[in-house]
Subunit: 335 residues, 2 copies
């Protein structure tokens, strides 16, 4: 409760465009064939904090120092919808990759309708998102977002190719999470700023870069926290099964800390590939997990500080303040 309150304040600032987005998305996705409707409606249930469209709206306001969301136009709504759909498509495919059966306490598409439907539904949502992006007069968003999806996939594939790779370095870890996670946050922020201005008052590249950097650092911190929660979170609170990185051999920042010590590294390697429960039990019993988490969270804090510093390049106002608050929230979330 105390954790969601600050986020509630932030979101209330963009409640109107967010309502509009959610109403429009339902109609936009209405399929040509009625048989597909239950699938589309089910995917709607995955809706979470909607951080990415919130970032797009706040960025659109912040770049102009707007006091309220009234000036957010059709193009910014479209960009936010595309970003949210691309994120949804990645979730549907992620659940296939992880053979996950539950997402946000409801059944995944692969569990409900099989892997085949889930792969195709993800493709369907990607195609719908790109189709929406190319309706915009200005092709910048379509270009940026197509490249972003390519980069997301590149990051995910690289991670898979390096499972159980104990030579994995921190640099490569940061590259991969920047690609697979933070790139979409960066795009959400940059494109929010980009489409906020009409042609007469083109946003300066400096401010767009600041928003992009903010999104990138925020996204990196978000993924680090996610990777920590997978090891020390409370399954009942997080709402998904934990320990999956261990069982899948995905090496994350807290693990890299444990791998630094040579003797410890040898023992740690025997954890990877075991079941989630066994891996977590042994990790918590036999390793200095608290130190590893503290080490990773320090990095997350540095990233958030960098994100917040970027905001100084934007005019002050409630949206800039909200972006600052939102960054802080990333560090305290347990969900």
């Amino acid at each position: 409760m105390t954790q969601t309150k600050p986020l509630h304040d932030v979101i209330s600032l963009v409640e109107d465009p967010l309502d509009r987005l959610n109403k429009e998305l339902l109609e936009d996705l209405a399929p040509g064939h009625p048989e597909m409707r239950p699938l589309i409606e089910h995917v709607g249930g995955f809706r979470g904090k909607q951080l990415r469209p919130v970032l797009t709206f706040l960025s659109a306001m912040a770049i102009r120092g707007a006091e309220h969301s009234g000036g957010i136009g059709h193009d910014v709504i479209t960009v936010a919808k595309v970003v949210e759909l691309l994120h949804t498509a990645t979730l549907v495919h992620d659940d296939v990759l992880d053979s996950a059966s539950v997402r946000r306490r409801i059944e995944t598409i692969n569990h409900l309708s099989g892997v085949e439907t889930a792969v195709l539904l993800g493709d369907y949502i990607y195609a719908k998102a790109f189709h929406m992006a190319v309706q915009l007069q200005d092709p910048a968003a379509a270009r940026w977002l197509a490249e972003t999806v390519r980069v997301i996939c590149q990051g995910e594939i690289t991670q898979i190719l390096h499972r159980f790779d104990y030579q994995w370095s921190e640099d490569r870890y940061f590259t991969v999470i920047a690609e697979k996670t933070a790139s979409l946050y960066a795009a959400a922020c940059r494109l929010g700023g980009r489409y906020a201005s009409n042609e007469a008052e083109q946003a300066s590249e400096g401010r767009l870069r600041a928003l992009e950097e903010y999104g990138l650092e925020l996204g990196i911190a978000f993924q680090i926290v996610d990777d920590c929660l997978d090891l020390d979170g409370d399954e009942a609170v997080v709402g998904k099964s934990l320990g999956t990185d261990l069982s899948k051999g995905k090496i994350t920042l807290p693990m890299l800390y444990l791998l630094r010590d040579e003797g410890q590294a040898k023992r740690f390697q025997t954890l990877l590939g075991t079941s989630e429960a066994e891996g977590l039990r042994r990790l918590r019993a036999e390793f200095p997990l608290e130190h590893a988490i503290a080490y990773a969270m320090e990095e997350a804090q540095r990233r958030i500080a960098k994100a917040q510093a970027c905001l100084s390049q934007l005019p002050p106002g409630p949206a800039r303040a909200a972006l600052d608050k939102l960054a802080g929230f990333v560090l305290t979330r347990r969900v």
Copy 2:
């Protein structure tokens, strides 16, 4: 040999742009991370007859009555590359859906590197294709192709939702194969025509519609023949495992013929869902398969005749003649 000869004549007409396409595709797909290179190169091995880019090039020539491929410009090459990449992405995902281990006599990505890599690599190729499409000055191709991919997925999902559905009608079968297969042929032809003309000499909508219709009917016929080959083809010639429609409960046109007779329908239903080998053996032994195939092939012939009739709206010349020949080839292919 006698079967591929006519196609060889057709292809030689567009050999130069096809060479250019294949050279450029290799470079375009070169990934940011060297680790991905073997995957990308492996996918290159799936290259088949490249019917879709051939159609794009021939359409670009035919709409202007061009004698040779010399006038095919950068935009048409780009459209052809995007169409080929989108097709490649659907193949990579199709192999995941079918749990196929071999495609064109080489290992599928899911067999070589796992389902996760195959899902992500398909997404990667889709994203790359869309990114390429939005580089075109004229957004028509990006819009048309994003919508086409949505329609392809819609067709595939509808087919999956109706597996083992013995109430499946011919109309619905035709709708689904138009969506999942023919829509990309139609796009390949229409967009070839569309991007052949510079702005000064915009192609008439009538000719573009003729090319689109030609592609649509050709694609429908192609899928009908594919569905026949799955039941009566020679595995060694076709180069992939057959009988998969039976085992997966996908009801195709020759099966719909057998389902017309009520007594026969009851017996036929016991075939679906059995192993490929068992299903094919019983189908060939206990049912009038020849009649069913003849019935379906008559429909394919009607579609090809319709496709060829569309060509009368285009100026005569070698490209129009090649499109006519290519349509005929669809009926005789055994591969």
